[in-house]
Subunit: 156 residues, 2 copies
DNA sequence: TTTTTCATGTCAACATAGTTGACGTTAGGA
DNA sequence: TCCTAACGTCAACTATGTTGACATGAAAAA
C-alpha cells in the first residue's frame, strides 16, 4: 500500500518561490477556484454526480424549459459532451424533458423537485464559501472583487 | 457538417436569471477562471501541451531540483497522474531529470532553456490578463481581490 | 406539393487527465 | 543484516471531453 503520495495531497498553497510580482495572484486564482468548488464537489460525489452534472442543473434551474441547444451554448461545450451527463440526470429523474406538441423540433428541460433540491444544496456550498469571504472584507472589498473578476472574464 | 453547436460556443456570460444574490459572483468565478487560462491554453495547444504540462513547468520553474514526490504534493494529484505528462516533457527535453549519485532514491527535476521559454510565455499570458484587470481597478481594488481570493482559498 | 435544407439530437470511436492496484528498486533504521 | 517505507513505473480503468456519422422533423424553396 502506498502511504503518503497515493491520494491528492492537500493543496499546499504557498511555498513556491515567486518569479514575478503577479505569481501570487495567479496562484490565488487557482486555489480560489478549488476552494470554492471543493465542498460542493464532495457533496455531489456522494450522489454519484460531479461538476458537469451540477453545471447542467445550475443552468436549467435558472432557465426552465430551456432547449438542449441553448443549454449547450451557455455551457460552452459540444452537444455530444452534454449528452451523457444529461442522460444520467434524466434517468435519475432529476430533470425531465418534454416536447411541446407543436414545437416538436427541440426538447425542453426542467428540473424535478429532487433536482431542485440537489441544485440548491450544491450551489449553496459554493455560495457559502463566497459569502464568508465577502463578509471578511466587507461590501467595498466584495465590489472590488466583482469588478476585477468581471474584467478578467471579459478579457478574451 | 454541424454549423453552430459543434464547437465550444463562446462562453455567453450573463443572461441567466439570478436566483440568489451571490449567483453573479459564482458565475464570475467560473468565467474568471476561464478568462485567465484561455489564451495560455491556446498557446500551449499549438505546442501539443496542455494545462497539466503547464502546471508542472510552473512549479519546477519556481523550485529547481524538486523531486517528483514534492512535485506531486504541490500539484495535489497522484504520482501516477503526473507520470504521463511528465514523461512527455522529459521526452521533449523541456525538462531534465538527474539523479545525484549519492541521493539515488529520488530524481531531481529542472527546466531546460526550451522549457523555461515555454513556461515564461504561457504564464505570461495569464499574468497579462491579471495585470490588465488590476490596472482597471487600481491598487486598492487589486489588494481587495487578493484578500477575497485568499479567504476563499483557505476556506477548506 | 415536393424537395431541399438545416437545426436538432443520438450513437460510436477516440483522446486526455485523472484514479487505484501491483510491482521493482533503493535507502535507512531496527 | 533485514525489514520497512519512500520512490518511481507500468497496466487497467473511469470520466469528461472531442470529432464524425447519421436519423429525424420543421420550415422554406421549388
Amino acid at each position: 500500500m502506498q502511504k503518503k503520495t497515493s491520494h491528492a495531497a492537500g493543496l499546499h498553497r504557498a511555498s513556491l518561490k515567486k518569479l514575478h510580482d503577479l505569481d501570487a495572484a495567479l496562484e490565488l486564482m487557482y486555489y480560489g477556484w478549488r476552494g470554492m468548488t471543493l465542498s460542493a464537489d464532495e457533496y455531489l460525489a456522494t450522489l454519484g454526480l460531479s461538476r458537469p452534472h451540477h453545471r447542467i442543473l445550475y443552468v436549467v434551474a435558472r432557465q426552465p424549459d430551456i432547449s438542449i441547444g441553448s443549454l449547450i451554448e451557455i455551457l460552452g461545450i459540444s452537444k455530444q459532451a452534454v449528452n451523457r451527463p444529461l442522460g444520467l440526470l434524466l434517468e435519475r429523474k432529476l430533470l425531465i424533458s418534454k416536447r411541446s406538441p407543436e414545437q416538436h423540433r427541440s426538447k425542453l428541460l426542467r428540473l424535478t423537485e429532487a433536482g431542485q433540491r440537489i441544485e440548491q444544496r450544491a450551489s449553496g456550498y459554493e455560495r457559502k464559501v463566497l459569502r464568508e469571504a465577502f463578509d471578511r472584507v466587507g461590501p467595498p472589498g466584495a465590489a472590488a472583487w466583482m469588478a476585477v473578476m468581471g474584467a478578467i472574464a471579459d478579457s478574451n
